[in-house]
């Protein structure tokens, strides 16, 4: 709980540090702040802050906060500092503010906290998406994200208002109280529920609300894309989890068909569209749509089966770590054509470690055995089969289609040779190498010994 405050305060400090022109200390301060927040979780002390009306520090929140702190730490570690300290401090401080919004979403018990968290998450992100001034696509991405995101927030707010009309309160306790009274829910409740769900579907980039995602992923600076693909996805997924599992748990019959249809549509669209892409970041955007769909199914599973709650967290862990790995490597590639597939040609001959890391990360996303991604996919697939056959089949279809575009990318990395037109270099640095090694070890350990290692991780927090 204190972690949110630490992150926010770090953000403020980083913002202020931009005033000091002599040296650039924004990165060290942010890393220090994140490290401090991580330590505060490990200490497991209750800090006597009772905001339980708005936010609760339950085990899920602890685990997700820990994961996101880990990811954010390495994302910022690999952030390329520009020459001007004030730019760095702006970018990093906004990243930290956005991150504190994400942390709010990990344990909310109040619908306005949901709104608050989502807004704090998104608004700095709109600016960050546009932060690459030299790239026209970046401005386009920021604008698109801002406009569509504002729509999403409007839907969210209206939906929350309608839910307030139904329940007479925003908090989860009030909701449970009303549900236990067993009153028939008025029609505008369903409208409100639908609007809130749509807003979160938008954030998770599920079809048919995914249209912003490839453009925004392509245009944003790669580290920001990495942030969006990992932490924002995690935050939106957990937001969805609390909604489906808490606020809308009683009306499961009404949202179940919607969730199934949306997830199947997402599988189909992500698979078919991903195959024809030739830009790596767009390709990864479509792949993350398919992962979001898997996560949605995992949330469904966690709702139905009590002992399968770890499916969601395990999937998020493996997905986030592979996303971190892939995007930090992509970030280091200075490509002339904004990371078209050809930029990756021949990576294996130039930078073996990066090539190995990228391959393992992509294999984990594809779900090849020995990687954590396979175990995560197996968990979801084996548990969704008895629940809903159609989504099971679509999920298999998505895996099959996915392997085509993952393979395309791995081919470029491992086999193709560089042609002159698209020369790109990789800035190798100890931060990148460290990130790669740690992520590879985690992915393989989670893939080979999922039970033991995951329990160990749980035990830490």
């Amino acid at each position: 709980m204190i972690a949110i405050i630490i992150v926010f305060v770090t953000g403020l400090l980083v913002m202020l540090s931009g005033l000091w022109k002599q040296r650039d200390i924004s990165k060290p301060i942010s890393l220090l702040g994140l490290g401090l927040a991580f330590v505060s979780i490990l200490l497991k002390k209750e800090f006597a802050l009772d905001f339980s009306q708005f936010y609760v520090w339950n085990p899920l929140a602890i685990m997700m906060t820990a994961l996101s702190l880990f990811i954010a730490f390495f994302l910022i570690l690999n952030y390329d500092a520009t020459s001007k300290p004030e730019n760095n401090s702006s970018v990093l401080s906004m990243l930290l503010f956005s991150f504190s919004g994400a942390l709010l979403l990990f344990g909310y018990t109040h619908l306005l906290t949901l709104f608050l968290g989502l807004e704090i998450l998104s608004i700095p992100l709109y600016v960050l998406a546009a932060s690459d001034k030299n790239n026209r696509l970046s401005l386009e991405a920021g604008l698109k994200y801002f406009i569509l995101g504002s729509f999403g927030s409007a839907f969210l707010l209206f939906g929350i208002a309608l839910l307030y009309g139904t329940y007479g309160g925003f908090g989860i306790e009030r909701v449970i109280q009303v549900q236990q009274m067993g009153i028939a829910l008025p029609p505008y409740y369903y409208v409100g529920m639908l609007m809130v769900l749509v807003a979160i579907f938008f954030k998770m980039a599920l079809a048919p609300f995914h249209f912003w995602s490839p453009d925004v992923y392509e245009g944003s600076p790669t580290i920001i894309t990495g942030y969006m693909s990992t932490i924002v996805k995690i935050a939106a997924s957990i937001a969805m989890y609390y909604l489906l599992n808490g606020f809308f748990a009683a009306s499961a019959k009404s949202w179940l068909p919607i969730v199934i249809i949306i997830s199947c549509l997402s599988f189909l669209i992500s698979g078919l569209m991903g195959i024809v892409q030739h830009n790596v970041k767009r390709l990864l955007a479509y792949s993350s749509i398919s992962h979001a769909s898997f996560i949605l199914l995992a949330i469904l599973i966690a709702l139905v089966e009590e002992k399968s709650k770890s499916t969601v967290t395990f999937y998020l862990y493996t997905y986030a770590i592979s996303g971190l790995l892939v995007f930090t490597i992509l970030n280091a590639i200075k490509s002339k054509d904004n990371l078209e597939l050809d930029s990756l040609n021949g990576l294996v001959s130039h930078h073996k470690l990066a090539a190995i890391g990228l391959t393992i990360g992509l294999l984990s996303m594809a779900g090849i055995p020995l990687t954590g991604g396979f175990i995560a996919k197996w968990n979801v697939l084996s548990r969704i089969y008895p629940l809903n056959l159609f989504s099971f089949v679509m999920a298999l279809l998505a895996s099959a289609l996915g392997i085509v575009y993952y393979l395309k990318t791995i081919n470029r990395v491992c086999f193709y040779t560089q042609k002159d037109k698209t020369t790109s270099e990789l800035n190798s640095s100890w931060t990148l190498n460290l990130t790669i090694v740690i992520c590879i070890i985690l992915i393989l350990v989670l893939g080979i010994l999922p039970g033991e290692s995951f329990e160990m991780i749980l035990g830490l927090f």
Binding site: L381, Y385, F392, L396, N411, C414, F415, G451, E452
Partner: protein, 480 residues
């Protein structure tokens, strides 16, 4: 057992990193010693127990998996075959200039294959099954050649991956229908699926395994992939990866077919037989030696699969024997083709001729191996093929006669190949025949000895798998 499986993995990692000058020698030395070591395992094998060399660790428990390894007769034979093939891969690549990662991937493949053949847990089996795809893909893609090679290999990978997704679906279906806690073979075999579940399970598993074998409708990836692959890749594919599918049929498909309707059984048998005839007929018309061998392979494994689908004791025994024999013979065949290609620069029947006059020893050994694959008596092909044909004939005389055509057709295309390539006048390409290194001649010689040895005494192989086949046949007779 843990040694058997982990040593190739370690060697693979070593091979990736040691300097290039040493890697060839090291690989050959290692694969030779490992093969000899596995021959020693034969001596330690206890025929009376069902599974030897068992190793059990509890990992991956929540998924129903466990590190449950063990080898029965069939498994051990397959391990021997794997090591044999890897040894020959190293022999074949002796004169070629392959980089470290080639050898690294070959040994990684050995690791994955041994894993497939010794897994006694379905989940573990699946993991190794999918894992085996990665090294072969890397070997093919990096060292393959030919126009459209890249597209072919991508198609190969996607085709096989989708096939393994079918196996995944079958496993999940089984887990849900039987509410399984674990996929261990010992726990699974007493259970059986009912009705519609059983049929769907059978079809899914058939498709998944059938892609690898390949069985008739799912064979489209095979010819082009073999043609564009490097020679070593081809013997890995046809010598041992094929056997993964057949092994899967025997180990994981058959035990659960007690309630299979005989209609479905006949249908699968007919599909396999269509493959036999289809492969043979196409092989008659092809001029590229590699394609002839590829289609002959399709034909032979179709026959083995058909034998398995007869669900009889003789059929299963014949299938196991023929799996080993076909592995040896096809390695020999592709070795010959590769040597000819290296010495003359061509694989086309139209461009070759008269090699016998250039290198009589080579031609003689080639003849022996070809006779072996035709299943001439006294060679190793004969006992297995006879058992398989008996079994199919017992199942249905008409199908048996159709299957018997394979002998005639097989003789036709193989002898056609031999005549065009080795006999007759020396063609242009052959006149510049570079002499073959002794090491290759020795390697071929060993295969020829094996052809005769196994042809004269196949009984020890049959004894090794007798318990397993008997057990499976009994399982299936209950419903017959």
């Amino acid at each position: 057992m843990e040694l058997i499986i982990s040593i190739p993995l370690l060697v693979s990692l070593v091979a990736f990193w040691i300097p290039k000058k040493l890697v060839k020698e090291m690989s050959l030395a290692f694969s030779l010693t490992f093969f000899v070591f596995s021959c020693f395992l034969l001596l330690k094998f206890d025929v009376s127990r069902d599974f030897n060399f068992i190793y059990y660790q509890e990992i991956l428990l929540e998924m129903g998996g466990s590190l449950f390894l063990g080898a029965d007769g069939l498994g051990l034979l397959m391990i021997l075959l794997t090591n044999f093939v890897v040894l020959y891969v190293n022999l074949m690549s002796w004169n070629k200039d392959y980089k470290n990662n080639f050898y690294g991937w070959v040994f990684f493949m050995q690791f994955a294959l041994i894993g497939v053949f010794t897994s006694l847990n379905a989940f573990l089996f699946y993991i190794f099954w999918e894992l085996a795809l990665i090294p072969i893909y890397f070997i093919l893609f990096q060292y393959g050649h030919g126009e459209n090679a890249r597209k072919t290999f991508v198609r190969f990978f996607v085709y096989t991956f989708v096939g393994s997704l079918f196996i995944l679906a079958a496993l999940i279906l089984m887990k849900t229908a039987l509410s399984l806690e674990t996929f261990n073979l010992k726990t699974l075999t007493p259970l059986s699926l009912q009705g519609r579940d059983a049929v769907i399970f059978a079809i899914l598993l058939f498709i998944g395994l059938g892609v690898k074998i390949p069985i008739f409708p799912l064979h489209a990836w095979q010819a082009e992939t073999y043609r564009n692959a490097p020679a070593e890749g081809t013997i890995l594919l046809s010598g041992i990866m094929l056997k993964m599918g057949l092994y899967g049929l025997i180990r994981w498909f058959i035990p659960f077919q007690e309630s299979m309707s005989s209609g479905l059984e006949t249908f699968l048998l007919i599909l396999a037989l269509i493959g036999v005839l289809y492969g043979a007929v196409i092989a008659l018309r092809r001029n590229d030696m590699k394609l002839i061998a590829a289609f002959s392979s399709l034909s032979h494994v179709g026959l083995i699969a058909a034998g398995i689908f007869t669900f009889k004791y003789i059929g299963l025994q014949g299938a196991t024997l023929q799996m080993v024999v076909h592995g040896i013979n096809i390695v020999g065949l592709f070795y010959i083709i590769d040597l000819i290609e290296r010495s003359t620069g061509s694989r086309q029947l139209t461009e070759l001729g008269g090699i016998a006059s250039k290198s009589p020893a080579f031609a003689a050994m080639a003849l022996i191996i070809i006779l072996g694959s035709i299943a001439v008596p006294l060679t190793n092909g004969f006992p297995g093929e006879m058992l398989l044909l008996f079994s199919i004939f017992l199942y249905n005389p008409i199908l048996g006669i159709l299957a018997g055509l394979t002998i005639i057709l097989g003789a036709a295309y193989m002898l056609r190949l031999y005549q065009r390539v080795f006999m007759g006048e020396v063609s242009e390409k052959v006149s510049a025949f570079k002499p073959i290194d002794t090491i290759h001649l020795v390697a071929l010689g060993v295969i020829c000895i094996l052809v005769f040895a196994i042809g004269l005494c196949p009984q020890w192989i049959l004894d090794m798998t007798s318990i397993n086949s008997q057990y499976l046949a009994n399982l299936l007779e209950i419903k017959n």
